[in-house]
């Protein structure tokens, strides 16, 4: 009898604790729930800031809007009023989502697209790899393979296009000064934070159109989702009382036209040749051998062609072709030197002495297959600071444009170095070195993570100097994670970090002179 009591206690305890846990909600939040932004400064002079791709803010002509006293405009106001009477919970949620910031939301979505398409082609039965085909993006392998250089370029083009389009929009907004519907009519409510930014052309519509055009070129297989998202943003502007139909149609036209200009640059920036040919790949190895060095060999099985080996020739944003060559780091230790032996044994030591703390650092920064890549990670880091700064849309776009042009230039600079020296990975030199994450499929010197992180931390430290220490610490951790992982030599990460900071410096120089600071 006594035993039975004892047992029932055990049962009671176990079952009640079990039920307690089970009743817990497993649903997780996305983790980046941007609160509505009310800009601390409307940046009325943004139309005068330096243009990157466009020749001037009025290169694309936006015709003058009709007056707010006209019947045509009054009909538009009535339409907004009518829509506001029919707002469902779902529509209010959409308004709330977009009031967190248009540029920020598109950046978040772009990170998702990169993660979705960051998958290398699977090998065929004969050991070869099919190439993603832009003309047939839905096939296996999907187009694109959004690897780090592809992603760096994509983030930069989307950011720059948005920035150009918004500067142009700001020019016309303050030229025509047509107020938002909620300022014109007392019966139109403002369901997003009120500002003094004129409504024509609608910045939300500009953003939706420029983003659609850029994204559907970069991620053609995601076209349905991209266009639905853009339509949602325009609806949010309309439903929230921020814009009328003509504010929106003018914005769409401007956004599309700006995207077309930016796409012209993209089409001629050298990306189409970045994959290279078999002859190019062989030449890298031959040049390396003729210098008396051991050439890089892919660690993938079967052997995979190098990732975008001619990406170093793609046009940078804030550096010239000569700058890229001029800033190229000095050579790594010779593959046959004593110094290299020391470097190998250091990597070997980390590979053989993995601790849980170091493994956590490796995985925090791995950003490999199926992720938003290291440039995406830095966008992730930046998003929070940019959001909390309460920038106007145009200044938000500027922050992302600065960050992502620096990251793109880091990708170009780093790839130029990698394929100039064509240096092997530690696990090629010593196959007993096992790695705590996948070995990237390109040469070791210099470390991409280090270059990306050095450039990003430099730009973010310029934008948010009070947080500079944090950015530098994160960059240093990202860099050393590659040594801990067993995939990079110390020379790779140290030189990469130094190089990245130099590259970031070019963007900071641009930022100091663009008229926005």
């Amino acid at each position: 009898m006594k035993t039975l009591n004892y047992l029932s206690y055990i049962f009671l305890f176990v079952f009640s604790s079990a039920m307690l846990i089970v009743s817990c909600d497993k649903d997780i939040s996305n983790g980046e729930d941007f609160t509505p932004i009310k800009p601390s400064n409307i940046d009325a002079d943004a139309g005068t800031w330096d243009m990157i791709v466009l020749t001037s803010p009025d290169q694309i002509v936006v015709p003058a809007p009709v007056d707010t006293q006209t019947d045509a405009y009054k009909a538009e106001l009535a339409a907004v009023e009518d829509l506001q009477k029919k707002l469902t919970k779902e529509k209010r949620d959409i308004i709330k989502y977009w009031s967190g910031g248009g540029v920020l939301r598109w950046n978040q979505f772009l990170r998702e697209l990169v993660a979705r398409y960051n998958l290398p082609p699977a090998p065929l039965a004969d050991g070869s790899y099919p190439a993603p085909d832009a003309e047939n993006p839905f096939a296996d392998p999907n187009f694109p393979f959004a690897n780090p250089p592809y992603a760096a370029r994509a983030y930069s083009y989307v950011s720059v296009a948005q920035y150009e389009a918004l500067k142009s929009a700001w020019h016309y907004k303050f030229l025509y000064n047509r107020p938002a519907p909620y300022k014109v009519s007392g019966s139109v409510k403002s369901l997003m934070p009120e500002t003094d930014i004129p409504a024509y052309p609608s910045e939300d519509a500009v953003l939706s159109a420029v983003s659609v055009e850029m994204l559907k070129a970069l991620f053609p297989a995601a076209i349905e989702e991209i266009t639905l998202k853009a339509a949602e943003q325009r609806n949010a502007a309309l439903w929230s009382g921020k814009a009328t139909a003509s504010d929106i149609s003018a914005g769409v036209a401007l956004g599309k036209a700006v995207a077309a200009q930016v796409m012209l640059r993209a089409g001629a920036d050298g990306m189409r040749n970045a994959v290279g040919t078999k002859a190019d790949w062989k030449k890298f190895a031959d040049d390396c051998i003729s210098k008396g060095e051991t050439p890089w060999i892919s660690r993938d099985l079967p052997i995979r062609p190098p990732m975008l080996p001619l990406f170093g020739k793609v046009r940078a944003w804030n550096m010239t072709e000569q700058d890229i060559v001029k800033e190229r780091p000095t050579p790594p230790p010779s593959t046959s030197s004593e110094e290299m032996k020391k470097e190998v044994s250091e990597v070997k030591w980390y590979a053989d002495n993995v601790t849980r703390d170091r493994l956590a650092i490796v995985h925090k920064w791995a950003d490999g297959v199926g992720t938003y890549t290291p440039p995406g990670h830095w966008n992730d880091i930046a998003a929070e600071y940019i959001h909390d700064a309460n920038y106007s849309e145009v200044r938000t776009a500027r922050a992302f444009a600065l960050l992502n042009t620096a990251l793109h230039d880091a990708a170009v600079g780093c790839w130029e170095v990698k394929f100039y020296y064509f240096n092997p990975r530690p696990s090629q030199v010593d196959p007993s070195i096992k790695t705590c994450t996948g070995v990237p499929n390109f040469p070791a010197f210099t470390s991409g993570h280090s270059t990306f992180s050095g450039s990003a931390a430099t730009v973010l430290s310029h934008l948010f100097p009070e947080h500079s220490e944090y950015f530098e610490k994160e960059a240093a951790e990202a860099s050393v994670s590659r040594l801990y992982a067993g995939i990079h030599f110390r020379a790779d990460i140290e030189m990469g970090m130094k190089h990245g900071k130099v590259i970031g410096g070019y963007t900071v120089s641009y930022a100091l002179a663009d008229g926005a600071e």
Partner: protein, 304 residues
């Protein structure tokens, strides 16, 4: 990617049955303690990427070995307590990926024989089992197929029916619903279920499993063949050429055979061996599993 030990811990494999396990219809007598060590070697060279079966030269053959301490104690003839704790090591034969090893999850279970009916030459019993498992070390769940576990705390609700007939044959059926806690990664974002999640927390789908076995049970010999099925109730497929992920929909069907024999001497010592092969799966390896071990039963109630 398929972690044999995880399955063992969730009590999914009938081949874990010692004197008794969470899945079988056998019980320890009151105050009897059965304890021992099991060695398991599980390996696969092909896996299902979603529903596509493939090889991967960057993994080659993936081997998971474990050494597990097990214990079962008869609180009464109707209630048994069971505990398991494995040390796990995973290794890939090709490619550069580093092996992983460590203490995995501790399982504690209460098994309650709530119904029994004895006839002349047969008997029928039913059981309810509650098992809780939780990681005892801080291993990473973010390194599949080489992670040693999922890093989740699991609660398993199991029902088992056991029928013994002609005094020597038996049939056993068991099924469980396992609630799994969310798990935590070392990174701030991940992509799964067609979404980018900007958090380190991963929502883990629950699991349903069932197993049936038939066999011989007499004079200290237990011999059985079994079939088991696990379905993860959610989670996404591994995408083409992607790495597997902790919350993937890991399903499998396995068949196996098990023998356990109590040696005549020394009394109380039993040897146990089993072999299991995967016949179908999704987001798991097509694994073959060997297990062998020794168990010793101590009768605390009897004076020496």
């Amino acid at each position: 990617m398929i972690k044999l030990l995880r399955n063992l811990l969730m009590g999914l494999l009938p081949l874990t049955s010692m004197g008794q396990t969470v899945t079988d219809g056998l019980m320890m007598a009151k105050n009897d303690l059965c304890t021992g060590v099991m060695y398991t070697r599980d390996h696969w060279s092909e896996y299902w990427e979603g529903e596509l079966k493939r090889k991967n030269d960057n993994i080659g053959k993936l081997t998971t070995q474990s050494l597990m301490w097990v214990g079962a104690y008869g609180l009464s003839t109707k209630v048994n307590l069971i505990a398991m704790l494995p040390y796990v090591k995973t290794e890939a034969s090709q490619g550069t990926l580093h092996h992983m090893e460590g203490i995995q999850d501790l399982t504690l279970a209460v098994k309650y024989n709530f119904f029994r009916h004895n006839m002349e030459k047969s008997s029928f019993r039913t059981f309810a089992t509650l098992a809780v498992s939780t990681p005892l070390s801080d291993y990473t769940p973010d390194y599949f197929p080489l992670s040693v576990g999922t890093g989740t705390t699991n609660i398993s609700y199991r029902a088992t029916a056991f029928y013994k007939f002609a005094n020597m044959f038996f049939a056993n059926a068991t099924g469980a619903y396992t609630w799994r806690s969310n798990t935590t990664l070392d990174r701030p974002a991940y992509y799964t279920n067609d979404n980018l999640y900007l958090t380190d927390e991963v929502k883990m789908p629950n699991v349903f499993d069932y197993a049936v076995s038939i066999g011989y049970l007499r004079n200290g010999l237990q011999a059985e063949i079994n079939y088991m099925q696990q379905n993860t109730l959610g989670g996404s497929d591994i995408r083409r050429q992607d790495m597997p992920f902790v919350s993937n929909r890991m399903n499998f069907s396995k068949v196996g055979a098990l023998v356990m024999y109590y040696l005549p001497k020394p009394k109380g010592l039993a040897l146990r061996g089993s072999y299991t092969t995967t016949v179908a799966g999704r987001n798991v390896g097509q694994s073959n599993t060997f297990m062998g071990g020794a168990l010793y039963t101590i009768h605390f109630s009897k004076k020496p």
